[in-house]
């Protein structure tokens, strides 16, 4: 059975300008973030959502996590509908979002994880051990008792991943998880994702990093301007370069990119 099912999902963000909009120039109207997108992810599968900024990757993850509700279509996790059974869906899903500042600054990393683990109903008996494990997996053991207000961007990002892992979700959602990480931590993290998949966790990872997609993906979804352009498997030997070529061929962005480079006088 598919662990995550996205069926004909449409998400529109409506912009309602301020009352005295003549004072400024706020844009009204709406942005269609996802246009009738359908896909599914099987248990233990690593699904990579690839696409440029604004393609709808983060919106898709937020819809699965129940942070957002769809305007049309349905989102299901483990057979539960994200709109009707949001509580059950939240029990199964762990999410690490891209802009990580979502912690309590005057608590240490360990105290933050303990707080979120309590809200995720991780029993008190298991909590300390699980927290120690995720701190080790994310390379934060040494900073475990440092207040997070003193953390760098990369450390925040690692803590976000640790928080998503501590509840041991059956579905893990990661939004640009390695954006602020150094090379060694990134490589370690990719290995962690593959280990989680072997342990039956379904992983959905949004990125625009081809190397990341090539390193971890079982399957690739290519999103572009809210539409699903491609849904295909990624071979074990498939390189980042091959994915890059595929991406530019599908999106047609190569012409725009080359045009910009030509204009800057740096054409190869």
């Amino acid at each position: 059975m598919d662990q995550v099912v996205f069926q004909s999902v449409r998400k529109i963000f409506r912009h309602r300008p301020a009352l005295f909009n003549w004072l400024g120039s706020e844009r009204g109207g709406e942005t269609v973030a996802l246009k009738d997108v359908s896909f599914s992810a099987a248990r233990a599968e690593v699904l990579v959502l690839l696409g440029p900024n604004g393609s709808g990757k983060t919106t898709a993850l937020k819809l699965i996590s129940t942070m957002l509700l769809p305007d049309a279509g349905s989102v299901q996790v483990g057979g539960f509908d994200a709109r009707r059974d949001a509580g059950e869906v939240r029990r199964q899903v762990g999410i690490a979002v891209a802009a990580e500042r979502s912690f309590f600054p005057r608590l240490s990393a360990r105290e933050n994880l303990d707080f979120f683990a309590a809200l995720d109903e991780v029993s008190r008996r298991e909590r300390a051990q699980r927290i120690q494990e995720v701190l080790r997996d994310t390379g934060l053991e040494e900073q475990a008792d440092t207040l997070v207000m003193k953390f760098s961007s990369g450390m925040y990002q690692r803590l976000g991943i640790a928080r998503a892992l501590v509840k041991r979700p059956s579905v893990l959602l990661l939004d640009e998880p390695t954006r602020s990480l150094d090379a060694a931590t990134t490589a370690h993290f990719w290995a962690t994702i593959r280990t989680l998949a072997r342990q039956q966790t379904t992983v959905l990872l949004a990125t625009h990093n081809f190397a990341e997609a090539a390193a971890v993906a079982d399957r690739l979804l290519l999103l572009h301007r809210g539409e699903l352009l491609a849904d295909r498997p990624v071979g074990d030997e498939e390189s980042a370069e091959a994915l890059r070529t595929f991406y530019f061929r599908m999106t047609g962005e190569i012409d725009e990119a080359m045009g910009a480079i030509h204009r800057a006088g740096r054409a190869p």
């Binding site: 998400k11 963000f13 409506r14 919106t59 937020k62 996590s65 129940t66 942070m67 957002l68 509700l69 305007d71 509580g87 939240r90 029990r91 899903v93 999410i95 979002v97 802009a99 990580e100 500042r101 979502s102 912690f103 309590f104 600054p105 005057r106 608590l107 105290e111 303990d114 707080f115 979120f116 309590a118 809200l119 995720d120 109903e121 008190r124 207040l147 928080r163 509840k167």
Partner: protein
Amino acid sequence: MRLWARFIGRDERHDFDDTISTKMISTTMISTKMTSTLDKLYAILRRDLLTAVRHRSGFVVALVGVFTELAAFYFLSRAIGPSFRPGGIEYFPFLLVGTGVYTFFVMSAQAFLSAVQEAQQTGTLEVLMTTSTAPAELVILSSISAFAGNLVNLLVYLFAGVAVFRASIHANFLSCVAVLIFSLAIALALGIAAATLQVAFQKGSALLWLLSSGLWFLSGAMFPIQSLPRPLELLARAVPLTYTIDGMRRALLEGQSVTAMAPTLALLAGFGMVLLPLALAGLSLSLRRARQDGTLSFY
């Protein structure tokens, strides 16, 4: 029943079955749920306490604020003179209880609102809404923590008024606790209403400012409501905080028993039973709308 079922995160249809085995399972589940809820409450209280103590200067500033405010009220009552005894009570103790209880209500709601605003700014609110804890449960537990912190401030305020400024009290502590407990649902409703406005329109602080100004004027914190023109006095009688302040004065300054105060306590319970479900329903609606519009982290 529906509200409780929603609070514990289950559909009420499944909770109250007739068969003994289902009842036993339900009892076990409710017991587990209670343990889990207490664990969450502990986690929230611990988070807020740690955050408060790590703002090292916060306690000192709060303490200086308490003494400055008390000194102002003490000298105001001296300036007015001993002949002004609203309801037969000396003016300084009258002010002490009125302003103490008013501040407890408003500052608790403010603390809770600030926590929601801060969570929006840092993005924590979105993440909190993806945990296994139902939003209504999370909000109630968080507001309990905000009120617990301000209860300590209220006790310090009253203790300083008595110990330093020699306010005379004749307390019936059981009645005091009863007034506080019966008023808690009203206070929670106020905090949740402010949070609802914050989530829905990003303007919770404006509502709170409006409400706190109105309550300052109408609740009898500074002067007896009988001094107001008749229409305003009637309006003041519709304000729940009026009964909390009046009840606390009678319990703390006149030593009235719980039995003597039964009508006031019943009125406070009635207000709470109406306002809290209304506030929770409003919050549930505003959270749903924010998830639909993608405005959960807007501020």
